[in-house]
């Protein structure tokens, strides 16, 4: 890891290069991703706010922000499984720490995330009046506080998500390099997880459907680790009520995940160049 830090200029530069590459031959480059994401978020927001009888002014931002965060998580997981396989040439020809390839990928995804935040800014401007005062989500029996200074919590939240992204890519990358079945398995399950995660629907709906009975149904969301990751970043950005248990779960995953990744790194780091 210390090596990788010394190489920060390398992966920093490579990550930038990947982004610049996208601009090179098309006029608006990676903004295409932003546009497609913006229109998807808009369509889904309109559709689901009608389906679930939600107020569009608060539900559309909810879907948009969830979608931006999901795109980052999706990118890290799918490209993370592929990170060493895709860099086979570099790994076999230039001696550099394995973590360089991982950090380059995470950095690139973070830059994409920054691009996509443009959609959030637009949504924020459009719905500013509705989001800055306390509001009510259909199905919740309390008011969300609206956007306040707690929006700053997005910084530590995103930092935590990025820290987790690194171990996910390291661990999944090493396993996938050895067992080539893993990437397709993950790619086919990730779509399912998207629909299981409260992004286009809100957990309040679970309460409403069950009329307060059968609270176990809320476990559908709570047992999904990605829900907690999405929630710590999303809640401050759209002024939702914060729950500390999300942070606790994410913190636990950070520690557990890094422990696993360190074990994998120590035992198999040297094997990766043989396996690719």
């Amino acid at each position: 890891m210390r090596d990788a830090w010394q190489h920060r200029e390398l992966w920093g530069h490579l990550g930038w290069q990947d982004i610049k590459q996208r601009y090179r031959r098309s006029v608006i480059g990676p903004l295409w991703i932003t546009i497609s994401m913006g229109s998807t978020a808009l369509a889904l927001g309109l559709l689901y706010s009608t389906l679930f009888n939600q107020d569009i002014a608060t539900f559309l931002p909810y879907v948009t922000v969830g979608f931006v965060i999901w795109n980052f998580i999706l990118g890290v997981i799918t490209e993370g499984t592929d990170v060493f396989i895709a860099n086979e040439g570099l790994i076999k020809h230039l001696p550099a720490p394995m973590t360089v390839h991982v950090l380059r990928m995470v950095w690139r995804q973070l830059l994409f995330f920054a691009h996509n935040l443009a959609v959030y800014v637009i949504v924020l401007i459009v719905f500013f009046p509705a989001l800055t005062k306390p509001y009510h989500m259909e199905g919740d029996d309390f008011m969300h506080p609206g956007i306040t200074w707690t929006i700053l919590l997005v910084i530590p939240a995103m930092a935590l998500v990025v820290v987790n992204a690194v171990w996910v890519a390291l661990l999944f990358g090493i396993i996938s390099t050895r067992f080539r079945d893993i990437p397709p398995v993950i790619n086919s399950f990730i779509n399912l997880i998207f629909f299981m995660t409260p992004i286009v629907w809100h957990t309040g709906v679970l309460n409403k459907v069950t009329n307060g009975e059968g609270n176990w149904r809320i476990l559908i969301a709570e047992l999904n680790p990605l829900y907690h990751f999405v929630e710590i970043v999303r809640a401050p950005l759209i002024g939702h009520a914060q729950y500390w248990h999300h942070w606790v779960v994410v913190g636990a995953f950070t520690i557990g995940g890094w422990a696993l990744a360190f074990v994998a790194l120590r035992n198999y780091r040297a094997r990766v160049s043989y396996w690719v």
Partner: protein, 271 residues
Amino acid sequence: MVSIEVWNASVDFPIFDAKSRSLKKLALGKVGGKIGSEGRVPIIEALHDITLSIKEGDRVGLVGHNGAGKSTLLRLLAGIYEPTRGSSRITGKVAPVFDLGVGMDPEISGYENIMIRGLFLGMTRKQMEKRVDDIAEFTELGDYLSMPLRTYSTGMRVRLALGVVTSIDPEILLLDEGIGAVDAAFMSKARERLKDLVKRSGLLVFANHSDETLIDFCDSAIWMDEGMVKQQGSLREVLTAYKGQDPFKYLSPETLARIGGDPVLSTNGGD
């Protein structure tokens, strides 16, 4: 002190086919319980029991047939492969020039590729910015440096790669055979620079099939055969044993004069 020490190192490649790479096979194999040796991954021993000690100032040529393990040995020396058995210790800043297409992005310009290669070799961005002009001058690529790399010929890529590695003052320079693609005039220029580099500091390991090139650059040699060191010694000894004849006998007087000590070159020095 720049050095490479390798003790009894072996490099074994596991050969994963679709079956052994899959989790299913691993899981079912455990359950079935009777798949013994056939369930195990076949292994290719690319290097076997290598013991080497290369010290500062050494200029080592690597010879051997195709598939003898030259490139694998270079990668072991670069630290890309850690030995599966035995151990190795590399002290010094390594600069490998192996496959010239790798580590270079065909879509970006020569300048940007110089930067990326430099960063990969452990330089900082500032250090590389200082060297860019020097590299541009050495490679003689001129305006081509602003063109995307895909417009370059093989020889031009070699120039670029050599320009970068020789400009960054590496302590350990590892060259694979690919760099033969440049023209004679540039070769003589590169030769000067490489010799200078080796003299200043560090050591060189060079895999090549051409006697002349080896004689130019190296003073000792290692003969690789079937993943093992068959012979190690002075260049003349090893080449004589390898080729079955003394290569120095057939050198042109010009070349002999050149290696005889006076490094000043005639214009067609690479003939």
